[in-house]
């Protein structure tokens, strides 16, 4: 299955979080904010200057910088449904 970086998702595209690369504070912060494996994430919109990016996750809105979204790995949401 194709694993991509969250930063590669286009507007309104959905993904399922697979893993967060990196360590320490960043990774912990993201996980407590709900970026846990299996969570569905939707690209809500890009900021006017294309960075940061707004996502919808667990029913709330959160934004990440492009360089941070690169550290979140996702797979396509459709593949999840096929597997089930």
């Amino acid at each position: 299955m194709a694993v991509r970086k969250l930063s590669e998702l286009r507007n309104r595209e959905r993904g399922i979080i697979v893993r967060i690369t990196g360590t320490g504070r960043f990774r912990q912060r993201l996980m407590e904010m709900g970026f846990v494996p299996g969570a569905e994430i939707i690209v809500e919109k890009y900021a006017p200057l294309k960075d940061p990016i707004e996502y919808v996750l667990k029913g709330y809105h959160v934004s990440l910088r492009h360089e941070e979204a690169e550290r979140v790995l996702v797979r396509g949401a459709e593949e999840e449904e096929k597997e089930d």
């Binding site: 904010m33 846990v36 919109k45």
Partner: protein
């Protein structure tokens, strides 16, 4: 007998914790700082039945890890101060993420009450929460509240008392199930911790075990300090390796994952969505406010409006305060005889403190606007829009507000750094903010550029502002690469739904911050004003080169004779002439006094340092008085260049004197020096206050002076080489 309770209020940012706090305490609160840090601490008291309840507001956090100052404060307060119970304020319309903190509080094993706040928003969004069922699953009473309408406050207070008195039937300590493998390791760790410290209760030992697996630095340090730690730490190493091997991930991830699993399980039984459409009103507002094309114009409009309100609307009460201070000085001066005490009180204390009191309207209006931005949720969007630009300067999106406010006044601008969460961002913003040229420096530019550059004055002044911005960017880059290396706080910014703020809430918010300014800054400014007053009025007796009093007496006598012999009309003109001549002599006397006062001697003392910049000793004295406030520089020039009466930046005689004594090159170097060095004593006081560190304050002052000197040196010497002098 009256009974007392102490409770702590925990909750996520944007959960409406502040409104619940205000509802419980009726807005009566004490604002201060947590010991040793500049994180705001609020306390208040609630009364219910025969209970007096002390409410401590913990910093808003998403979690209780040891990664941020706020989280450590919140956690240590709960563990060390042992409040009777903790109320977790939960945003009911964002349950899943908010329950993460709740799950950590459950692990801590403290008595809990959950306030399901903004339950009306959740309902409007079609989210039906079975709060009684949720209470049973969590083992914690969940009380629906609507903070903005003060609904549920009574029920919340009753639940607090029931839990505190151990009368609540729902309350039970649950274990979040972390799964067989993790639970095994947690139990082993718990065992070895208790073997090392038999006095520790089992809940706390379990919590420590979980935290150790989460790789928590603070708990790790705490364990290291205790006896027989080797066993525990060896066990930890073994457990971590074991889990990594069989589950293929580090325990930190597994625990976070399990917590969300527990929450998900609880919510499938208690939360129903009645609406398919998950696009809400807030999202539609946002498509306009953060629109690709409209986002920036709207943002610029809001900032413009805030700027206008702060400095234009604020100028009216400013003028009143200024006039009031003037009247007070006159009145007090009239009551007292000439002398040192009068000088101290009128010229030192009243005009010094009054000079800062005039900023109060600015500060309160600014904080009202900022509170409005924060309470509506727009602040997060402003950061979202601006982050790309500010990030290239090494700053956070939210730093934009303090930077733009700096053009008005650096004092409220530096106070506005409170919108920033990370200390690194705050200090960095404080350090470069003084380079943004405030309105107090403008009169100096107008005077000098007007005197020396004629029709090109406007362009010259504009170039100074641009150099200020360029320097701010440059210094930001340098500091980012030298002083603030290391891990940058993750941006990860929540964009909360737009909310209608309440006037009361916004006013309380404004007052909290404004009152800190009044309370804490007064002292520093008082001392600063007295010092400068003393420097400029001692030594009391000066050896004058001429007898000014005799000169005045002679003028008096001469005119007395002439006036007596003149007709009535002429006499009035002559009397005016006499007064003018006496004033001229008085100005000469003042000038000599200034020159021979401690301040004047200091000015002459530093003259050698300023000579490479082309400045004479008068410029030195003007720069010294500029430490108090930049507005004073112009009037100091007035005194030093013997211009009588009110010397403003538009004064023709003062301009003439400047153009005689400065070349355009020196004038430009002088303006650049004014741009870069310490704006005023109030700015120094506010940097001290907001950074909580004399070290950073000293650094801010020191690097400002160094930068000012270097820039002025380059301009003057470079200009001389190019033959511009």
């Amino acid at each position: 007998m009256a009974k007392t309770l102490t409770i702590a209020l925990a909750g996520n940012p944007n959960s409406g914790k502040t409104t619940i706090f205000n509802n419980l305490t009726g807005g009566h609160q004490k604002v201060g700082n947590w010991p040793g840090v500049t994180v705001e601490k609020k306390e208040g008291t609630a009364t219910h039945n025969d209970y007096t309840i002390r409410v401590v507001d913990l910093p808003g956090t998403y979690s209780l890890t040891a990664y941020s100052q706020e989280e450590i404060i919140a956690r240590n307060h709960i563990i060390n101060e042992k409040p009777d119970l903790v109320v977790d304020v939960i945003d009911a319309s964002n349950l899943e993420r908010n329950l993460y903190l709740a799950s950590q509080l459950i692990d801590l094993g403290v008595k809990l009450v959950f306030a399901l706040n903004m339950i009306d928003v959740a309902q409007a969004r079609g989210q039906i929460i079975e709060h009684e069922q949720l209470s049973l699953l969590m083992g914690v009473p969940c009380i629906p509240t609507v903070g903005s309408k003060n609904e549920g406050t009574r029920e919340l207070l009753e639940a607090i008392i029931r839990v505190a008195e151990d009368r609540e039937s729902i309350t039970r300590h649950i274990h979040i199930d972390y799964g067989r493998e993790l639970e095994g390791e947690i139990a082993t760790l718990q065992g070895s911790i208790r073997a090392a410290q038999p006095s520790m209760d089992e809940h706390h030992a379990r919590w420590m075990g979980i935290k150790l697996l989460e790789n928590d630095e603070e708990v790790n340090k705490a364990i290291e300090k205790k006896p027989r730690t080797k066993v525990v730490l060896n066990q930890l190493k073994h457990s971590t390796e074991h889990l990594q091997k069989i589950l293929g991930d580090d325990p930190e991830t597994l625990i976070a994952d399990r917590r969300y699993g527990f929450i998900h399980g609880a919510l499938t039984e208690t939360l129903r969505h009645t609406r398919k459409d998950r696009r809400y009103f807030s999202d539609r507002v946002d498509t306009v406010l953060t629109n690709r094309l409209l986002g920036f114009p709207i943002f610029i409009f809001f900032i413009w409006a805030m700027f206008q309100l702060t400095f234009n609307l604020g100028s009216y009460p400013m003028a009143w305060i200024d006039a009031g201070v003037g009247l007070l000085a006159q009145f007090v001066g009239g009551l007292m005889g000439e002398g040192l005490l009068k000088g101290l009180i009128v010229d030192g204390i009243i005009s010094g403190v009054g000079g800062v009191a005039v900023f109060l309207p600015n500060i309160f209006i600014l904080f009202f606007c900022i509170a409005l931005f924060e309470d509506t949720g727009y602040m997060a969007r402003a950061a979202f829009i601006m982050d790309k630009i500010m990030h290239t300067l090494g700053l956070h999106g939210k730093s934009f507000i303090p930077m733009i406010m700096g053009f008005g006044c650096n004092v409220p601008a530096i106070m506005a750094t409170r919108v920033l969460e990370s200390r690194r961002d705050r200090i960095l913003t404080m350090l470069i903010n003084p380079l943004i040229s405030c309105s107090g420096r403008l009169p100096i530019y107008v005077l000098i550029a007007g005197a020396l550059f004629g029709a090109r004055a406007g362009n010259v002044i504009f170039s100074i502002y641009l150099i200020g911005i360029a320097m701010a960017i440059l210094m930001g880059q340098i500091f980012k690469r030298t002083l603030f290396r290391g891990e940058i706080a993750p941006f990860v910014l929540e964009l909360p739904p737009y909310r209608m703020p309440t006037l009361r809430g916004t006013l309380i918010h404004m007052w909290e911050r404004g009152s800190i300014f009044i309370k804490k800054m007064g002292g520093v400014i008082l001392v600063g004003s007295i010092v400068v007053w003393a420097l400029s009025s001692f030594p009391q007796t000066v050896d004058y080169s001429r007898d000014y009093e005799a000169q005045k007496g002679r003028i008096h006598e001469e005119y007395a004779v002439v006036i007596q012999g003149a007709e009535q009309e002429q006499a009035a003109t002559l009397a005016e002439e006499k007064d003018r001549k006496i004033a001229e002599v008085e100005t000469l006397r003042k000038r000599e006094f200034q020159e021979k006062s401690l301040l004047g001697r200091l000015g002459k003392g530093i003259a050698p340092v300023l000579r490479p910049l082309g400045f004479d000793w008068r410029a030195g004295v003007a720069l010294l008085t500029g430490f108090v406030a930049k507005e004073i520089v112009v009037s100091t020039f007035g005194v030093l260049y013997q211009v009588g009466g009110e010397a403003g930046e538009e004064s023709e005689s003062l301009r003439a004197a400047i153009s005689k004594n400065m070349t355009p090159l020196v004038g430009y170097a002088f303006m650049i020096f004014v741009l870069a060095y310490t704006p005023c004593v109030a700015t120094v006081a506010v940097i001290r206050r907001e950074s909580g560190s004399w070290g950073w304050t000293g650094f801010a002052v020191g690097y400002g002076i160094a930068l000012a000197w270097i820039l002025a040196f380059l301009i003057y010497q470079g200009g001389m080489l190019l033959g511009l002098g």
